[in-house]
Amino acid sequence: MTSAPHLRQRDDIVLSVQNLVVEFPAGRGRRVYAVSGVDFDLATGETLGIVGESGCGKSTTGRAIMQMPKPTSGRVEFEGRDLVGLSAADLRSARTRIQMIFQDPISSLNPRRKVWDSVADPLRIWKRGSEADIAALVDRVLESVGIDPTRARESRPHEFSGGQCQRISIARALVLDPSVLICDEPVSALDVSVQAQVLNLLEDLKAEFGLTMVFIAHDLAVVKNVSDRVAVMYLGRICEIADSDDLYARPAHPYTRVLLDSIPVPDPTVTPQPVDLAGELPSPMSPPSGCRFNTRCPSADDVCRQEVPEMQPIGDGHYVACHHPLVTPVTIGGVV
């Protein structure tokens, strides 16, 4: 565990992901190194945000937690059990405790089924109560996400807007009363106005259902808004993890800095900063050695090119994997 000092030793950890590696075969013996050794944990009631550029492995991480697909190696400890080794049957039932919401609200609902049925389905699969109980529960959950249950009984997904579809899939994820909810870019496809509705809804539901969430997005501002902690990913690895406000206030990794600088601010008085980022994102099929960011990092040197940086603490709950962090490391609790 030395390489993952940011994993916390607390009793209320529901989900702990350790050294998660996911690789995909890419034909002709090549592999896509989608996720290469990711560690994080999640305490009850906490929301962890994951940000990063397209292709950095955010979704893969999320799905690997659900064991869809099974990770190449690593542990996914959920409520004390390692999901990686579970039998198919055990996994099926474990999955009811972790749920996922997807980026594309429309394709995550079956176009040929009434949305009410889609929401009721999980209950039917697990035979949670009589048909009447199920109906009552579904109606209640639909109402709590702001969808009229009567309309839901009669309508198919295409009769709802994107935002409504996203609410419906949230409802479907919630009927089984999961303890962890993984949201994979749930608002990226939505308009800002609708995005705000969904973000607020998630906040409300979190309180109502006592959810623990992993929130994946590429928009740092959105992530920051919903998360307690944020992990920044770059090319399959976490490069920085910190409390949301802390990350914004004191970014320690050069990549985090770049990300923050790139975000356009809706304020004409702020002149946009030229982005200090060289070159292109390397291919996940041949990631650079050493620090994966070294090819584009302004302060990269030979060490960065050769040695993989370890996670190191640089503040309270603030960790960075960088040889040359922008913030000087601090001592926490006697450890370096």
Partner: protein, 360 residues
């Protein structure tokens, strides 16, 4: 370059003048009023941002100006480009403008380049067609253009196919194509939504730079207020096919009048807000453009709307600043508005911080 550009001084007469432009589509469901009476002016060398929610008619408006609409579209009103009327010119009539006078950068660089033609060919095509360049001249020019848009190793790239380039590079290629014949007006329709933030920043920077170097006018279509804030001179806000507010950028942000503009801005999560800040939302969904609501089209979703908003359509009126126009009966800052705002803050729908922060 073309006589049009040398004859007129930039701020004397407008490069583009729209007057009551309406673009309607005939569909099986009825008439879609995608653009419904838009008037606006764009001066030479300036950057205009068009913002609005999805489906508000931004794309249709820019394509109307370009004359790139499907045959189901009906356009009325007047669009004058450097004094020349564009409406009614037909495809053949517009072709002379495309590429040379005005050109366009599309939203998704992944699908806007011909996948089966080499990048170089695609850049060279307008050069050869419009400027009658020889093959080798066109190739040399194409290489130069690639250098201009900051593509490393342009000689190699020119013989590559789009899929061999990253998204950011493809968007640069698109810009190179758009710039090839030295247009006076560049439409950029959400040029960065498909790109990562880091790339987005670079592309926006590139467009701004090219605009300055070439003294072009740019129309930047986007739904992201952050993008327009940093990269435009003027902003036009669209809602439901109509222009609801237009002003120079700084003015708009400091003195926005339209509750819609304000709500839009408020609903964006901001980095400098602490996490878990509650976002004020715009309830409901954008209007159906086949049967738009009567009165103010935003009224059904507007937290500040009153009876009148549902009955009468507000005209576009100027504020004290002649370039700042808005269409609202009870604009931000009016008594009726403030009254409602106070209610909302009290009820918690609008967090105090935001209400205060936005009213500067």
């Amino acid at each position: 370059m073309t006589p049009l550009q040398t004859e007129h001084r930039s701020d004397v007469d407008p490069l583009l003048q729209l007057d009551d432009v309406r673009t309607h589509f005939k569909t099986e469901r009825g008439r879609v009023r995608a653009v419904d009476g838009v008037s606006l002016t764009l001066r030479r060398g300036r950057a205009l941002g068009i913002v609005g929610e999805s489906g508000s008619g931004k794309t249709v408006l820019s394509r109307t100006i370009m004359g790139l609409l499907p045959s189901t579209a009906e356009v009325t009103g007047s669009i004058r480009y450097s004094g020349t009327e564009l409406i009614g010119r037909g495809r053949g009539g517009m072709r002379g403008f495309w590429g040379r006078e005005m050109s366009m950068v599309f939203q998704n660089p992944m699908v806007s380049l011909n996948p089966v033609m080499k990048v170089g060919e695609q850049i060279a095509e307008p050069l050869r067609l419009h400027l009658g360049m020889s093959r080798s001249d066109a190739k040399a020019t194409a290489t130069r253009l690639l250098t201009d848009v900051r593509i490393p190793e342009p000689e190699r790239r020119i013989d590559q196919y789009p899929h061999e380039l990253s998204g950011g590079m493809r968007q640069r290629v698109m810009i190179a194509i758009a710039l090839a014949c030295g247009p006076s007006l560049l439409f950029a329709d959400e040029p960065t939504t498909a790109l990562d933030v880091t790339v987005q920043a670079q592309i926006l920077e590139l467009i701004a730079e090219q605009r300055r170097d070439r003294n072009m006018s740019v129309v930047l279509v986007t739904h992201d207020l952050g993008v327009v804030a940093g990269h435009t001179d003027d902003i036009a806000v669209m809602y439901g096919g109509k222009l609801v507010e237009t002003a120079p950028t700084t003015l708009l942000f400091s003195e926005m009048r339209m509750p819609y503009t304000m709500s839009l801005l408020r609903s964006i999560p901001r980095l400098d807000d602490p996490s878990h800040t509650r976002l004020p939302v715009i309830a409901g969904r954008p209007p159906d453009l086949v049967a738009p609501p009567s009165g103010c089209r935003f009224a059904p979703r507007c937290a500040y709307a009153r009876e009148r908003c549902h009955q009468e359509e507000p005209p576009l009126v100027p504020t004290s600043h002649p370039d700042h126009l808005y269409a609202c009966w009870y604009p931000v800052g009016s008594d009726e508005f403030n009254e409602r705002e106070a209610d909302l803050v009290r009820s918690g729908a609008v967090p105090v911080a935001i209400a205060r922060g936005e009213q500067k």
